[in-house]
Symmetry: D2
Subunit: 447 residues, 4 copies
């Protein structure tokens, strides 16, 4: 059976991930993501009403025109988890394919939201839930799609595995190797090791290289949680304002914030539109999340809530807000500019449970936000965070577990792949033979 | 009563700390430390046989000649904890003063060791144990010395407080604010807050500025412990060699290494001369340390032990060794060069539970050690560590707790003080008036 | 005679410089500057109509209320050169003092422009021209003000020296030690050495510490000129668009750009409001500047000029434009966004004869500008520049030449002073005795 | 005619360059270099007596065993210039091939020296001089080897071009684009442009990617020369010791040092073994080098010379010495340790006309050397240097001139190639099709 892999998007950048695997006549697409920075560099663009081709020209969504070179039928579109760089182009591209969208429940809910917000295109792809550990048949030639449970900075992430007569194709985006995540099960390394050894083994492994130039091992979410616990407990005696911010989609982190807020005697409130979107989704589904926490998404309601907090006494609350990157219009930045009813005063604490995304535009915005917070007297606690992506020792361990015949680094540009290429070369792989650094729009023939 | 503070050493560098406080006719000396880097830049120097004056000229130990300008009698020499930059000059300088050395038990044991290793000078200072929380009278004019429990990267650290009729002098070196240290009690913030409010309050606070240019808050040892736990558990399935290294004096970290080694089914063995010195001391005293762990200090015995480990199977052991900075003659570097019976093989793990001290000489040595380890196939896990020193939010909290009339930044050079000066200025202190940046060899008159 | 120095502004930052020297009953003020970044962090502020006190509260201009503690009469206000951080507060503060403004011709012209743009305050201070090398009497007690020629990134910079019966006060802001500047005379080191040795020598030296943490020596403008020449000549064969940008106030650099543009066969045109202000001023005065170069300042005229350039052929022109820091509204950024008639095409060259001011806000803006230029196909040449400020070896040489009794580091914050303090300490000065690190609003009594 | 390129060494590192081109039955080898850092990480190794295979195993010299997969006869071995990473393996590998070594006169002299120092192998390859601009026939099938003049940090560098019936193969290592080098002719861009357009144009271009991640354009040697002139002239008044160091092989820089030393009234003397080797070679050949300068290579003679300098007065001399990287045993480091008769005193100047090679081992050694110099009172001037390698705008211009069908990045590892791959991709090349990132030991079939 012929096996081809089309590396459509996310092979020259972090963002707009999309990969298609053809096994015989059956095709499965993994991810359809958005590169938000390509949108934001332009002033005042609303993507909801834009045409795919314009977004492709901007480099914002994957250029899926290479799909016409793949001979076969698309059987499934599989978003691996709910981050925008993996699902953000579904509303622009999925309608072109007569195939269901298959994802875990949390991811699928977020995909639904994306489809509802879309103004330009209508989509009638079927939506199919599948849990980690489960499998489904793809086409009629003995191909099976399996979801292996992985751990990432969003819940219900999986690595899809396509079992073909030629061996398994493991799509490894995005994950870290977490043996004690705060929500959900540990990464299923046992299953990966089995897949590496059963049948014909692994034909090809596509790896998340976000951190491929970072040495060592990504710590567990339990380390960030302990760091956060330690930080918030250190403020237990303080009776003024404490505000926290983190990635809205990082449900485990939001959960920790909510729990520790209560443990130090404060009522947590989630504020901001994306806070409400992600946490609201977690609340509706049956995940291990404190479902009784208050969430407020609209600006007018947020300002009313902040007014109430001021009236009841800041010391009784811990608002968890949007704005961890210093985004100019996010709630935290508005608070820093004194544009909300919440008065930041000398000694108040602001906890960034996030790291600055290392890009000068972000760094400039975040710097300004911290400056403005400082001008109000706020004390800033940053970097209470761990990455959601494997570092080099994780990559080493995955290679050891899967023993793949071919590897394809993804989710970076070439400079970003280089650490992975060094590592794989040391493990015996050879560039151009079984180690494929590629670019967007290529097709790699494996069999 | 006249109060003067002589800033003798450690006010232009990190290292060779020494400060004297005169209250009326009574003088107390805090710390007598060594700046090891000033020794190591020269080839082949043995400090044990050297004269104080030569070491002073090299900048290695404090220039205590300014003591002759302080009119009064030295009543006590008080090393705050057992690190060399606080006790390493006692064997060279203490004999000049007719005064007891007062310290916590663990610190005092290490001081004894220093005095025994000394070849040039004999010392007959009395050695007095005092625990955190206890006090003693100094002289006959109502002055009292109290030890407040603090938390640092070595056990039994204290901050000495000299209660005088003019208010308290708090000597704040070295600490972080740890509410869940792995060994011993949390930092006694309650006592600091009392001292700040009782009687005449705090006349002067001398602050540990090691990290004064670092934003945020130093995490607890519990965060490093969770990170270490997570790291070692991630290796649980590996059946080859695992080697760890950390600061020998960091008893809490060594304890965590020992415990997690056992939890993942390996026998921990402490190897290296300074490993034996510090852990042996901890074992002899009644601290919360696994006293049944094996320790080997001499090179010949170390090599025999490593041979035994190879015979019994590397997979059953976890050697905890010296060499975390890549020191050319330390055990880990010898292992990396293949100069010991321990064979590092492809896939073996080396865990650095330490951070590289950021100085080009160290960085060069550590880089070489990692290169050599890599040439043997070893996988390196670095930076599993937290600092032992307050960052800016700790400094902010201490000022808030103590409300001192005067502050003196210490344990850095002027560039290192600058973050503290900014912070204190924002809190209302004024350079040259109640905020004293000073240099080695000065005397500051407070009353 | 009593000598006091009031360190009013620019001792905790780079920006809003202001220092007053009292000798007996006579006072001279050096510089009255603006810290623009304190204005820009707020949205949409126009300083022209603002009150001084509001600008003082923002930290934008010096807080000159300390002047009431100096007993004497202000005899002169002396801006040392035409940069905004030295003259930008004159329009807000000078009117409070009944004293002339004394400056070199170029500086004085720029001061006039500032006074004319001011909307809130009227000023009737007399304006007195004085050239480098000249002197004037101050008051009736034997005090003299001398201008010593120095070299900086703007023409006609001087260091004022106040000769008092107690020795000279040398105000050393801002300069580098340039023996082959492109316009004007070399720095007058001979005169500095004389001042250091004649009469009572130098009582006090106030030093420009902008680069005090940088090792080595700042290169001459001739090095930047050679670098620029080499860069533009390397483009001689290119027949498409070439655009350059630099500091508008850097007349020597603009001159080099104009000359090399012509040498490679292109017509230089200066575009942008501040380009016209500074170069127009240089043209009106009798300085060594190509007076026949075209300058266009208003946006409508700029766009017409760019249209003409497009019609006549980009290859015949070299526009020198504003926007070297990626300022969002500057001409170069507008060109990068495609908002002007000038079409940047694949292969066109953009030359930044400037360095990014190392602050995250700037870095973010500059990064975006370069990204946008790259999206148009432009090739970017950066960092063709040398600093206008002394590095450590310049500071060393100045101390050696002047042999001052006291030194006061200025034009930085404490972290910025630290390199200078190390250097001066090594030369025998002692913090707190004859080496004065100070802050805004202090008065130092020398005699 | 079949065309293959064997990328033998220097495709995973900077160092041990070696590439072979097969055109039909005729093979030409470009460069045979040494990676010195792979030798130095081991203690006490002397390469002169070592076998090739051991050096190959260490990664120190190219693994030329892939040559047996190339079917044809080696017709020439062509070192492009005299740096060790291009000629340092000739003495170990050339004897295996029955082919002449063809190089420019200066390069050939240095090759001779290498062959003479070799203890293990004897070599009887013919040595053929060829100047830039000249050509020779290779084999009998219409293949021609041409030397195009380029500019680098050593004199007489060329880029060899192999003209084949299928188009030209341009081997682009190592160069910068210098239009005003201090010795020799400017880079022959006119010839490159002709080669790009004549006949079948360029089949393949192999590019020097040392600086491929650096933006902008490498300045000319004339910029470094102006910087050096400015630096030394700034010391004209100083009458104590001045010492300079630079790359011994950098004849143009040594020439500038010699000339400026004389212009400021000092006698230059070249000291150190490699100083004598390279400058002595330059002196013997007819290059534009001050042939009357004194050179001393042996340690005993050096110390005698330094003694004479001390007797005659340091102020009359400018020793140009080895040790620009702080190498522990180099002359400058010995001077810094006080191990030579030359007394460094307070205020003496040390000029590093070199940049620290950015690798932690070097950085550590250089830091120590500067520390030791500072302990003697010396003032250090660093980084008076420009790179010898193209940055991105040079790469852009080369692509524009040559318009090659295929490009192969070389002289870096994959991370180092990444900037070049981005650039070439933007110019329309595609990874894996006509843009070949490869590794050591591969063969690329072009025709």
């Amino acid at each position: 059976m012929e096996i081809e892999i089309a590396t459509i998007g996310g092979y020259e950048e972090v963002g707009r991930q999309m990969t298609a695997v053809r096994a015989g006549n059956d095709i499965v697409i993994f991810d359809m993501g958005l590169n938000l920075s390509k949108v934001l560099i332009h002033d005042n663009i609303q993507t909801e009403g834009m045409h795919s081709l314009d977004l492709i020209d901007m480099g914002a969504i994957p250029d899926d025109r290479v799909m016409s070179d793949l001979e076969g039928d698309v059987r499934a579109i599989v978003p691996t988890h709910g981050h925008l760089d993996h699902i953000g182009a579904i509303s622009k591209l999925a309608h072109r394919y007569d195939a269901p969208i298959v994802a875990t429940p949390f991811t699928l809910e977020l995909v639904k939201g994306e489809l509802e917000d879309e103004n330009k295109f209508g989509s009638d792809n079927e939506l199919i839930q599948m849990d980690a550990g489960d499998s489904m048949q793809i086409g009629d030639h003995g191909i099976e799609l399996e979801f292996v449970n992985v751990t990432h900075s969003i819940i219900q992430a999986i690595n899809p595995v396509l079992h073909t007569p030629e061996g398994a194709i493991v799509y490894g985006l995005d994950k870290r190797m977490d043996h004690s995540p705060v929500i959900g099960d540990p990464i299923d390394m046992k299953r990966f090791r089995e897949i590496g050894r059963e049948g014909d083994g692994v034909l090809c492994y596509i790896e998340d290289c976000t951190n491929a130039n970072k040495k060592g091992r990504t710590p567990s979410e339990s380390v960030a949680r302990e760091h956060l616990r330690d930080t918030l407990y250190s403020m237990e005696e303080y009776d003024g304002g404490i505000v926290a911010t983190t990635f809205s989609s990082h449900i485990a982190r939001v959960k920790s914030l909510v729990e520790f807020a209560r443990e130090i005697g404060r009522q947590p409130i989630l504020l901001g539109r994306s806070m409400e979107t992600y946490s609201g989704t977690a609340k509706r589904l049956d995940v291990d999340f404190p479902s009784d926490v208050q969430m407020v998404g609209y600006r007018r309601s947020i300002d009313q809530t902040l007014e109430r907090i001021m009236n009841d006494g800041k010391g009784n609350f811990l608002p968890v807000v949007t704005g961890h990157q210093g985004e100019p219009r996010a709630l935290l930045t508005r608070m820093a500019r004194g544009e909300t009813p919440y008065d930041l005063e000398e000694g108040d604490k602001v906890v960034f449970s996030a790291r600055v995304i290392p890009e000068p535009t972000n760094e400039g915005q975040r710097y300004q936000a911290e400056k403005l917070l400082g001008m109000q007297g706020a004390r800033v606690y940053s970097d209470i965070h761990v990455s959601g992506h494997l570092c080099q020792e994780g990559h080493y361990t995955m290679l050891d577990a899967l023993q793949p015949q071919h590897v394809i680094p993804a989710h970076q540009d070439l400079a970003g792949f280089s650490g992975y290429v060094d590592l794989a070369s040391n493990q015996g792989y050879t560039l151009g033979r079984d180690l494929h650094t590629t670019s967007n729009g290529n097709i790699i023939q494996l069999v």
